[in-house]
Every structure is written in structure tokens, then in C-alpha cells.
Amino acid sequence: MLELLLLLACASILTSGVLAVSLKNLMAAMVSSSLAGLFAAVSFLLLAAPDVAMAEAAIGSGLTTFIFLYAIRKTRSDGDAA
């Protein structure tokens, strides 16, 4: 059961990572990269490392997304396809 969940989490990390690279819409790419961080946190939790999971969830999927959000908003030009 644990291994199944872990495989699911790893597959989700892979999927959202690939999506984050390949999506043209910057907002969607940002959300999927933060999803990758969130699934990484879940997998850390499943591997019995709650300390690391906490840091990853707060920094990797919380604060980074926020900083990306502001960076995208500041740098978007009018001719952007996003």
C-alpha cells in the first residue's frame, strides 16, 4: 500500500515536472512546478521524513510559487503569448 502510494507520488512529481517545463502558459507552468514540490513533500512524508516534508511544503511549494508569481507579473510584456 505504501509502495503504491509512493509510486503514485513519484509519477505525479514526474508528470507535473514535465508539465512545468512544457506548458506555454507561464501561470499554469508555475502552478505545476509548485505541484511538483507538493508531491515531493508528500513522498518525503511517506518515506517517514516529516521534518524535510515540512520544509519542502512551506518553501518549495509555498514561497517559491509566490516569488514566481510576482516575478511573472513584473516581467510580463504586452506581446506575451501568456
Partner: protein
């Protein structure tokens, strides 16, 4: 064309490295000798039920101090690079357009969740020696709370000056505790100059909770300042 080849080459190299790693993988049946030493001696020597925090703050305390110093440098350089250029940036039409109020969900969610997030952050910081967590994680949680606050109230601002003072004081006291450990106990950042107390009690484990709290304050303040800089 040549770029494609280089990219393929690098990906192939990574594939070889990871294939070797996965191929040789076998699940460990027990702890490695070093890990076993720390796992068995840590709780006895430090009185810390959560070994991760004990190692991070005591055995590897100097390293943690370095991490916090790096974070401080990041906060300082972000502040330098993203300095506000007077009032010029605030009056452009693009910025005026962006100042629309946050949605109902964000503002009322912040009202409900903010105290909970801050309380949880404080709990994680103070209880780091007993349960999962510690200064770094709790500080990140506190910073994500202030991030939510800034999202919900775009016109509010953090008092960066006060945060900097608090953060610097936390850093100075952190180093002072380290030196106290050097003088009174076994080495730099050794927390055993305070009584170890009862194993598992809130006031226990020597100076570990104190260092953890200072670390949490420092990390929370630094990350909040970074976020505030990115917003402005």
C-alpha cells in the same frame, strides 16, 4: 543542431549516472554505523526526542549557522537589487491597474487561517525538539503566513526595519549561545550548559529549544523580508 546534440549528450550522461544508482540500489537492512551512533547517543547526550532537530542544532550547529548566514546574505542582496526607486514605480499606470482588491475567498480565508498558520508556525518552532519540525521549518511556515497576509491585503506593508532589528538580534544571541556552549560545555553551539531536564518535557534538552526559537525568528524574518522585497 549542435545544441540538440549537446543536450542529448548531457541527458545521456545523466541517464547513465541514474541507471547506475538505481541498478545498485538495495534497501538497507539496518542503519549505517555513523547513523547508529547518532541515533543511539543523540537522545542520551542531548535529551532530544527528535533526533533530526538535535543533530541540526547541536552536532551540525555550525553548519546551520552557515545556512542562516547564507539566507541572510540572500535577503540582503535581494533587498539591494530590488530596492524601491523612490515613488516613481508606484505611479505608473500598470501598477495602478494591478492594485485591484483580492478575491473574497483570499481575504476571508486569510482572516480565518492567518492566526492558525502563525500559531502552527510558533508550535513547530517551539516544539522542534519534541516532534517533527524545528526552527527552519517553523520559520518557513511563519513566512508563508506573512505571504498570505500580503496577498490578502495588497496595500499593507511589512515593517522591514523592525524585522531587520529583530533578525539581527536573534543572530547575535544565537552566536552568543554558541560561544556560551564553547565556554561552559563541550564545544561551539553545545546546548548542554543548560540542564537537560526530564526527557520529553517541554523545558528540556538544554539550549536546543532556545536555539531553535532564535533560528525560527531569524528564518521567518528573513523570508518575510525577501517576500516583501519581491512584492514591492
Amino acid at each position: 543542431m549542435i545544441r540538440r546534440v549537446i543536450v542529448l549528450f548531457v541527458v545521456g550522461l545523466f541517464a547513465i549516472v541514474f541507471a547506475r544508482m538505481i541498478g545498485d540500489y538495495s534497501e538497507l537492512q539496518g542503519l549505517r554505523p555513523l547513523a547508529e551512533y547518532f541515533v543511539s547517543r543523540g537522545p542520551v547526550e542531548l535529551g532530544v526526542p527528535n533526533i533530526v532537530t538535535g543533530i541540526l542544532i547541536t552536532y551540525r550547529g555550525f553548519d546551520t549557522l552557515g545556512e542562516v548566514a547564507v539566507l541572510f546574505m540572500v535577503a540582503a542582496s535581494v533587498g539591494l537589487l530590488l530596492k524601491k526607486d523612490g515613488q516613481a514605480a508606484d505611479t505608473t499606470p500598470a501598477d495602478a491597474e494591478e492594485q485591484r482588491p483580492p478575491s473574497e475567498i483570499v481575504s476571508s480565508g486569510a482572516t480565518v487561517l492567518l492566526p492558525v498558520i502563525f500559531a502552527f508556525g510558533a508550535y513547530v518552532i517551539m516544539n522542534g525538539h519534541l516532534s517533527a519540525g524545528g526552527g527552519f521549518q517553523g520559520g518557513a511556515i511563519v513566512a508563508s503566513g506573512s505571504m498570505l497576509m500580503l496577498l490578502a491585503r495588497p496595500d499593507s506593508s511589512l515593517n522591514v526595519a523592525v524585522l531587520s532589528v529583530i533578525e539581527s538580534f536573534a543572530g547575535v544571541i544565537y552566536v552568543c549561545i554558541g560561544i556560551l556552549g564553547l565556554v561552559l560545555a563541550g564545544g561551539f553551539l553545545d546546548g548542554r550548559f543548560l540542564p537537560l531536564g526530564e526527557f520529553g518535557a517541554f523545558f528540556s534538552a538544554g539550549a536546543v529549544p532556545v536555539i531553535s526559537t532564535l533560528l525560527g525568528i531569524k528564518v521567518g524574518a528573513e523570508l518575510s523580508v525577501i517576500i516583501d522585497r519581491f512584492r514591492s
